[in-house]
Symmetry: C2
Subunit: 219 residues, 2 copies
DNA sequence: CCAGCGAAGATTGTGTGCAACTTAAGATCG
DNA sequence: CGATCTTAAGTTGCACACAATCTTCGCTGG
């Protein structure tokens, strides 16, 4: 059997990312321990690790909560992504083999199909595909320092259930960016790829900030 | 009394940064527990947190070791710093009050005095001053996302006991950079400050990479 | 002599009990 | 009636014990 703390980390991360625990929700240790079928010890370790990832916040003697983001913090996260992810994309270009391009192309195409308005549209299916796309790109860059620095930042938009907040034009742009990044990668042009990634992130930033502002005022 | 795990994190971080545990050294839990006067539980938590900071590496069922850096990883860390720290510096400029400029000026001047060749030179004294200087700049930027992303990277050079590896010309440049950054900050010019910070990091990178190469070949 | 195997020792992973702290409700006093 | 103190319930922090895993050393066989 795999390690209990390992399972706890994965399970809890999925629960949070999937929205079972909304932002700000309290994460009691005994509650999680029962739910995950382990004792409090691995739960504590899982919370500590997710805290390092930025998914939960731990207040001493007061327990853990799912991280909640102010508009300002959300903008800050996108600034960080804008600083790092284009660089990683550029690094990935010369390292990509043909097969990597094929895999990314497949992902980008599937996202376009699933994201296109109509009866087949499934915005929830976009989330894992998007994670996979960006994850593969980061892996190709083969730059652990930047990858870990980025890791804490990428979860924030996901927690906000992002694709439902995209307006049609922004969503179309976002999906087109993926396709264009693959094209730039296949053309072996890191500057092109990085530029599209920059645009991609700024587009996402605009969507998320608008949504967060709206949610904040609406509440 | 303050929390045991908190003390353990701080104490262990200082021990590693101070060089009591060389890179690659094994960190047995019972050994640390006895040394720090706590039980294994807070030690494990401390190791987990320092692992998130990048100071130690944990292998499942095989314990923790002080992170050791290959030349390639070291270069990667400096790439990350080059991507983030100039931005943070630029952000810090408009937020700095006169008192902040004074404090940074004081630090920069003390570093110049302590770093100047002669009987008063004390390269070990530079380490905490340098940490404080960069730390204050990061704090001024008031950008938690970037700050935490950077946190893991800044330790690496310190672990390598850096200032002893500087040749006189590079050291002089490095100390001059600090002074110039303060000047740019006082002039309210973020572009200037960011540019000097970029140069500062590239200068450090050249020194560290050369030293790491030398150490690797010498061993 | 070397490779592979096996058992003992050591170390990490997990469960559980108790102490310390936080928090919220109720009582007491102004 | 409102504010503050008290108290009790619940939760986290820590220590310790046991289980699982890894490592090392010795042994056997080729």
């Amino acid at each position: 059997m795999t390690r209990a703390s390992e399972r706890a980390v994965g399970a809890l991360r999925e629960l949070i990312l999937h929205g079972d625990f909304p932002a700000g929700a309290r994460l009691g240790e005994v509650e999680l321990a029962e739910r995950l079928g382990v004792s409090r010890t691995p739960v504590r370790e899982a919370l500590a690790r997710l805290s390092a990832e930025g998914l939960v916040e731990i207040a001493p003697n007061r327990g853990a909560r799912v991280t909640s983001w102010t508009v300002g913090e959300l903008e800050a996260v996108f600034e960080l992504r804008a600083a790092l992810e284009p660089r990683l994309t550029a690094l990935a270009v010369p390292r990509a083999a043909t097969a990597d391009g094929d895999a990314l192309d497949d992902l980008a195409e599937r996202m376009v199909r699933v994201g296109r308005p109509g009866p087949d549209q499934d915005l929830d299916a976009l989330v894992p595909l998007n994670r996979e796309f960006h994850g593969r790109l980061v892996a190709l860059a083969d730059h652990p320092a930047m990858a870990t620095a980025l890791a804490g930042a990428v979860h924030a938009p996901i927690v906000l259930r992002n694709f439902h907040t995209y307006d049609p034009a922004s969503l179309r742009r976002s999906l087109a960016h993926h396709v264009e990044i693959v094209a730039a990668l296949r053309a072996g042009d890191p500057t092109w790829a990085a530029a599209v990634m920059t645009a991609h992130i700024h587009n996402a930033r605009a969507v998320m900030v608008r949504a967060a502002r709206h949610a904040q005022e609406g509440a």
